[in-house]
Symmetry: C2
Subunit: 582 residues, 2 copies
Amino acid sequence: MYRTQTCGELRIKNVGQTVTLSGWVQKSRDLGGMTFIDLRDRYGITQLAFNEVDNAALTAQARKLGREFVIQITGEVIERASKNKNIPTGEIEIKVTEINLLNASKTPPFTIEDETDGGDELRMQYRYLDLRRNPVLQKLQLRNKVALETRKYLDTQGFMDVETPFLIKSTPEGARDFVVPSRMHEGQFYALPQSPQTFKQLLMVSGIDRYYQITKCFRDEDLRADRQPEFTQIDCEMSFVEQEDVLQMFEGMIKHLFKTVRGVDFEGDFPRMTYAQAMEKYGSDKPDIRFGMEFVDLKQVTSNKGFAIFDSAEAVIGINAEDCSEYTRKQLDALTDWVKRPQIGAKGLVYIKYNTDGTLKSSVDKFYSQEDLAEWAKLANAKPGDLLLVLSGDLDKVRKQMNELRLHMGNELGLRNPNVFKPLWVLDFPLLEWDEDAQRFFAMHHPFTSPKTEDFHLISTDPGKIRANAYDLAMNGVELGGGSIRIHDRELQAQMFDLLGFTPKDAQNQFGFLMNAFEYGAPPHGGLAFGLDRLVATMGGSDSIRDYIAFPKNNAGRDVMIDAPSPLNAVQLKELGIAVKS
Amino acid sequence: MYRTQTCGELRIKNVGQTVTLSGWVQKSRDLGGMTFIDLRDRYGITQLAFNEVDNAALTAQARKLGREFVIQITGEVIERASKNKNIPTGEIEIKVTEINLLNASKTPPFTIEDETDGGDELRMQYRYLDLRRNPVLQKLQLRNKVALETRKYLDTQGFMDVETPFLIKSTPEGARDFVVPSRMHEGQFYALPQSPQTFKQLLMVSGIDRYYQITKCFRDEDLRADRQPEFTQIDCEMSFVEQEDVLQMFEGMIKHLFKTVRGVDFEGDFPRMTYAQAMEKYGSDKPDIRFGMEFVDLKQVTSNKGFAIFDSAEAVIGINAEDCSEYTRKQLDALTDWVKRPQIGAKGLVYIKYNTDGTLKSSVDKFYSQEDLAEWAKLANAKPGDLLLVLSGDLDKVRKQMNELRLHMGNELGLRNPNVFKPLWVLDFPLLEWDEDAQRFFAMHHPFTSPKTEDFHLISTDPGKIRANAYDLAMNGVELGGGSIRIHDRELQAQMFDLLGFTPKDAQNQFGFLMNAFEYGAPPHGGLAFGLDRLVATMGGSDSIRDYIAFPKNNAGRDVMIDAPSPLNAVQLKELGIAVKS
């Protein structure tokens, strides 16, 4: 037996016991005749004590142990002379009688401490050492707990975990598929699922009216920061439900998770907002409502005063940054530079300082009177001491830019506390999105989303205006999940594919199995999927998902630890019947 | 709201309530003025009643509903005149006041009943309809329960669920990989994992001393019956453990699963047997010990009596089929034909009838006396009324053939009751297997398995004799899972790769990340993986895993429902930088 206890277990009540522990040497200290070693495992740290007077040979052996050596020791639990109140085992130490070196270690390429000196690339290359660090380990523990509590909740609600296949069929609609050449069927390919969408709908046709799965999904996209080619989804679907049933069920799940995993109680129902409202007030379909600073439409009151930029703009939108009227020239210039960066793309920034003395001072004083500015301030609910920031231009662009500026100001002003959680249901998403490049509509969610009955008459006149029975759950400016009520009627599904530019033959070829299934008694159904990586990161108070994944890929989609992807050998290529273009 | 209850919920206590149900029309019966419909969902069946006298229009509407139509009804729960004791809802029916047709259905291609008229291919093509059948649904429910109870048990034992990546690196050792071309790194490929083996070992290096995952694995093998290219593994690993710790932990898990899911208690510890013993007594490393019929070595007693076939055979092995001495000529000929089939490959079958009158009659009476035969019978513990069956030839071949014959006889004699469960640990597997074609050793388990210390001296003299710290759990003639204590020392791992014919460069290139990790304080570790598909099938009393998978592939690796794999379009191939050979 390698150990009788873990390194996080022993307390003052164990004094006098003989124990065996195994773990890693976190650090050692020589103090005159005494040597102390911190022995670490996943559960904690226990101090080992060696006294040169008692046992010179053993102490000499202990002194040779380097950082990250793996050892097994036996000894007696004794009370510490100087106690450490910061760790649970801090009242005791082990008077060691025997050391067994289990494995030596080279000096790690970075220090295995909460704060490390290792850069990102190095930590990823030696991810197995990075995972020894407490902050990283805790993130994986959080993930483990969230996943299990998700399962427990859904099981209690009668959901069945059903595994759907990974080797499926490529459907070029939507994002790019990762594909898998078939050796047995030369020239043919499987695809890895972007989501289990069609399979979970087939399960609804099967009558499995409550399905869930926590599963990997794959998208071959050009990676942006914090996107992963493989990611994990909590995928759910229900039959005989309306939108409200789905929202209630998964609001319950999120509440359960925050309660059991983080000890956070949400009071009352999650707030709701339509997509149209969210875009109008926040310029985002996943607004961070931990703080206000809502958009104010200033188009009307700023027009026809001789300021050509506002006059010609489709939209003039302001936000009120409270208590910021004392911003210096330098700070305001920095903000202007920030919105003019290519990532944001604004042409400029107008500001109005509502000074504490009640006067107003703006960057457009040439065109607007104190009364004009006072009217703006009133619309924005600004008070003396506040700062109005105004952007103008095409509506969609200004909304995007102002959303970024608002979040930036939220960060600057410390209004985005990672330990405050503000969920928000965003409802009534548009069914379609117009793509200028392709000159056609794409499904905003996916082609299986059902349109709102009351909007469906717009199909021949103004399809872009059709709203869908689609919903997202946003939290703290992040989309945790989203879903919709699906189409369950073959005819409607065929119309939808037609709208998306599919020929009937293409639609049948790619999604015939689903449309055929709809002819055999498909029930009304709908569902939702959460991004587990993002959910866990948000619960952990982090913006970045990468640390919540045990073995993530870098921004180029590479695993730098195992060095993948990599070339295949000629035999493998030949067996697969494919050639790499040179 | 689509329903107030499910179709399995209503009882006599609900009489008088107005309810709304949704479900599928299982069948309808017109009896004079009355029409009855069985409404089905996942939870059960509820009878709907329509009386022509009460409501002629509604009854007419009901009569038009075909099988598998999806309807929503509202009505009053009433007590049935003639109760059906066979179903939980059999005491009541619904006096329907309103029907809402949710979706019509074409006539299904096979009947949706427990016993269906649909053939395998048809059922797979319409798998979403097949899954509506109770026996199939129950198999998925069993799987769901086994998976969740596995998680609960492992969580209680401190195991962490950690997701390992799917897009990894191809390692041509072992079975063939499925590969995934990288678009962003042209000419390079990811591979899908055959198991998370190396990653779970890295997690041990990380200090996550108890890891588990229920995850898909992929092997591009030429499919035999009941093999799937993607399959699910309960994958586990532990640090600071010896073999005994691993066996105890997972024996506990299997006991927990059988107890909670099937209500089966195992008394005492699971029996254990070495690989050598299993091969000697059963000719199999996964013997079915629900019945005896153990191998008897007859080489010694059959030699030098003038029967050239036995004399020249390396092995002569018998089994005793109890109470079969009355087998007819026809039955014995059938058995002989059975062992001579190419799948078994025996040259012939010798039998000895131990007649109830105490005489012995064999197919080799020409060479052997009654005393000779009596001696064989004694060795085989045969009694009057039994039948000895004997095969001869090369040891390995005879063992394989006799194993097949023994299982065949077990089936014939009804000795393999699917509701009796007999687990068996098989220990001390050989480390290596000699491959005649490749003229080299392969790892019997995988290259990370540790040799037994006491055998390791054989490495330069007789490596084929080295036993490994490797173990399997067999049950009812099936391998449920297997594992080993791993190598955690870089030098030993390098020696192992050398033994397997890797150059140091190849070893470093393919497994360098793991060998490097071993240099930074790798703890002693070991683990085990269960095949979830097979575990669930065994618990369900079935030999075939396919029905326990929601969407299985056929023996050619095809999903006939969605028609995968299938050709890619030219744009996709071009983007991936690969060409299909023509």
